[in-house]
Amino acid sequence: MHRFTGSDRALALLILALAGCGFLILVGPVIVVLVTSFTSSRALQFPPPGFTLQWYRELFDPARSAQIHIAAGNSLMVAVLTAVVATSLATAAALAITRSRAGWARVAEGGFMAPLVLPGIAFGLASLMFFSWLRQPPSLALLVAGHAMIAAPFALRTVGASAAGLDPALLESSAALGAGPWRTFRRVTLPLILPGVAAGAFLAFVSSLDNVPVSLFLASAQTDMLPIRMWGMMETALDVRVAAASGVLVAVAFVLLLAMDRAVGLARRMSG
């Protein structure tokens, strides 16, 4: 992609233009949220009449936002557990599906997607009915299981896309060299599918973090969840702290990404 001819240049320009528009669409609304989170008005307002850090201070205030902190803690814990459970289950299944040419794999792949397309309200209601019938009241474990059902298809798809290009010969040669299946997975397969696994874990994490309908039914007074709390703050009072909470998430993701970059870079330098 170095020496451009005329038509190459036109195509490259088109790609760049669309990518630019795509970038704008991705970040535009997020910028609106971030700018709004610094508003000096007492309700969500855009454009803000002035700027202040007040809403971040209030969001971190241990007394005034205690309930938000508890809900955030619950939501984060459920999201982490969901990501771990969903990604592990889905990675194994994705490897099975991509490595099998049999017809069952196609059927299974479609079937595994089903939780994603059942409306959340219906799934939440049905889960609560079913587990009430088994005399299992809403609990943390049930909540994680419910979230993991919705999250697993994300991981299944992204891992599947990464594993699709996996060369079977590579795995066979690893096995031929005497590596056990676990070792082959860790040393050969996992590094190759890591982008898909990471993307899947991330999608699972955020899908859980932002889930309203399943939490509505499977959460209890003991597991107050953040998105439900934020709905209330938004609906009744246009509370600016909901925008500040998004600001915090974006900042955390930024720092995490930079830290990961550093760690990867460091590891590369140390091994090289």
Partner: protein
């Protein structure tokens, strides 16, 4: 996961906040109450919960809208996820129909005398009033006189419509039907007008989105309760409440004890404390702005009544009549709006 590890994991994130996961259960009684998310949740945690702690009762709150409470209690089939409901009239009637409530004995309330007559019965007790009318942006549109004004061209293009999904939406639409010559038995005039204004209405949608659209100028007129108007204005939104010429509508928010509750005594104490004079007085002030049901408490300045005893002067509705026909109205609203 053991209780210990769970708390260990959470510890860092929660900085020692009173953890409802076990822990506090040792002394006294722990009960669970459903509460509307947002303002109600904040208010009841701040004002009501400390009162009960004095009596050795720890309250865990579960934030759920009224319809969500009914759906959740119904799905749980006799294992109520909370001890006390807080509901508007529509969901209240559904709850009665589905047999979700324990029989309520008003005589167990020490503060019964503070309620106007008839506001506690075998189902539950009223804990707050809601006054519904028209909300408008005084910097953008003139004050509307009545429900029929909303269908005039100067308001239609700025009107945010919500359907029959909520209690306040339902009674507002009924009042509009009456202003247009219809009634609860005959909603046709309303639907004919809705069909006419459909293309030019500024927004049709979920109540949750309306405050945001109002603040951003997408809509300048909507129907809602005084509570929302006062709360939004206290946060700097340009919003005023207009009492329609046919009168503002009012209804009671009620609390009920869940059938199968294992904390019935605590639940009575909770409802009793809720209607007590000090709690009602605190809740009627900023930043909560509840309309009190206690006869000894004066409502806030925005509420067009000086005492709950005037509730008889307001337009009220018979929900036992409304609930059976509401599903048809909902369907018809969907169809008219989807064109």
């Amino acid at each position: 996961m053991t209780e210990f590890r769970r708390r260990h994991l959470l510890g860092a994130a929660m900085a020692g906040a009173a953890l409802p996961f076990g822990g506090a259960r040792a002394q006294g009684t722990t009960m669970t109450a459903a509460v509307y998310p947002g303002g109600w949740d904040e208010a009841l945690r701040d004002v009501l919960a400390p009162r009960l702690r004095e009596q050795g009762i720890t309250v865990a709150f579960e934030p759920l809208f009224a319809v969500d409470q009914i759906a959740k209690a119904r799905a749980a089939r006799g294992n109520p996820p909370f001890d006390v409901f807080v509901l508007d009239p529509g969901p209240r009637v559904s709850g009665i129909d589905f047999g979700l409530f324990e029989t309520f004995d008003p005589a167990k309330l020490s503060n019964l005398g503070q309620l106007p007559p008839g506001q506690a019965d075998a189902q539950g007790a009223a804990v707050a009033a809601q006054v519904v009318g028209i909300a408008y942006n005084p910097t953008k549109v003139p004050k509307p006189k009545g429900w029929a004004d909303l269908f005039k061209p100067e308001y239609v293009s700025k009107l945010g419509l919500t359907g029959f999904g909520t209690t306040f939406g339902t009674i507002s639409l009924i009042e509009m039907a009456k202003a247009l010559g219809g009634s609860v038995e005959n909603m046709d005039p309303l639907f004919a007008e809705l069909r006419r204004i459909r293309p030019s209405v500024a927004a049709v949608g979920q109540p949750a989105a309306m405050p945001g659209m109002f603040q951003q100028g997408q809509i300048d007129v909507m129907y809602t309760n005084t509570y929302t108007v006062t709360l939004l204005r206290s946060r700097g939104v340009n919003i005023d409440f207009a009492v329609p010429e046919t009168g503002a509508a009012a209804f009671m928010t009620t609390m009920h004890i869940a059938k199968g509750s294992r904390n019935i005594d605590a639940a009575y104490k909770y409802i009793d404390a809720m209607i007590s004079t000090p709690v009602q007085a605190a809740l009627s002030q900023a930043p909560y702005f509840f309309v009190p049901v206690n006869k000894d408490v004066t409502p806030g300045a925005d509420v067009p009544m000086r005492s709950i005893s005037e509730i008889g002067n307001f337009v009220t509705h018979d929900w036992a009549k409304i609930n059976p026909v509401r599903p048809q109205w909902i369907q018809r609203f969907n169809r008219e709006m989807a064109g």
